[in-house]
Symmetry: C2
């Protein structure tokens, strides 16, 4: 049975364990074993061991064991996905795992960015810029181009965008299940 690493900011939810349980149940329904980072047992055995370092190492080991990844790339405290999730997406790509991703926010990156900061069009360079004069990508992607294109190049599908209810933005699993369907299809094709 292929193992799917379940990357996402879900681990920060008060009911993270319940979300993890539901995600693993859905994985099983599609023939996968779900690996949820919260399942890592962290037992600092020495006073010198930092809990965050133990969590990092446990997550990295779990990612290496996985065959593929499904990433919750819903915007997190800004226009982009959670930094930890994005790091894990990159690591899975480097390790040649197949990756899928979803976002519970359907907006393009430029629109998302405008929700968080002032953006002005700079006629001299023909791009939009924020208050720090940093250009804002306008390719119609959901996030930074590295994220959207990593999914296309290393998963075969665009990011799944689903318009979740605002109060279910971090709980809704419709986009997650759509990724499972794509992953099951991909696995059956390559079998």
């Amino acid at each position: 049975m292929q193992k799917v690493y379940l990357a996402g900011p879900d681990v920060f939810l008060p009911d993270a364990l319940e979300i993890g349980r539901r995600k693993k149940e859905l994985c099983a329904r599609y023939g996968f074993e779900g690996l949820f980072p919260f399942d890592n047992e962290i037992n600092p055995s020495a006073a010198t061991e930092r809990p965050d370092n133990l969590i990092y190492r446990a997550n990295e080991r779990m990612i290496r064991r996985a065959d593929l990844g499904i990433c919750n790339l819903t915007p997190f405290r800004g226009p982009s996905a959670d930094a930890g999730t994005v790091f894990e997406l990159g690591m899975m790509v480097g390790l040649a795992k197949r990756v899928f991703g979803y976002t519970n926010d359907v907006d393009n990156f430029l629109v998302r960015t405008k929700r968080h900061t002032a953006v002005n069009f700079d006629a001299a360079t023909n791009v939009c810029r924020d208050a720090n004069a940093m250009s804002v990508e306008d390719f119609g992607n959901a996030d930074n181009l590295m994220i959207d294109n990593a999914l296309i190049e290393h998963g075969g599908y665009q990011i799944v965008r689903y318009a979740a209810a605002p109060d279910r933005i971090f709980q809704d699993l419709t986009g997650f299940e759509a990724c499972l369907r794509l992953a099951a299809e991909a696995v059956s094709k390559s079998a």
Copy 2:
């Protein structure tokens, strides 16, 4: 000569080419060849080729060619580093490259997060939470634990924190040069 991939939101600056030139000059001074993503020539040859996809593929090729990476992890439009940079850091870790990183903001992640969103202490679970009830890490790291610990595990050093002047937050190269010094030391030790 070892090649260093220069990851960072520097590519979004109006003077990105000049910053890239200065970074590569500093690399040469420490015995490295700097690879700056902006140097990738993007020439869409067919109407069907998307420029963002060509940029992704060129960056991925450049990362694979590199021996190590130095990442500008200064907070970008939120409490965390630029998503594209974080993705590239993850990819380099997956590819077993040695990674170094700096931030021009010395604050801890909890303080950074409080600058962007309301954070309250949740006595029931003994953690700080944002308005979405998502917990905020409080390990004393600069960013999400995956980022700080990836640098320790795969570079050997903590993230370099430098208090740049607020109007030079994306231009100051003091932290970058500190990373070059660490990288040169690391390479000379393993030679």
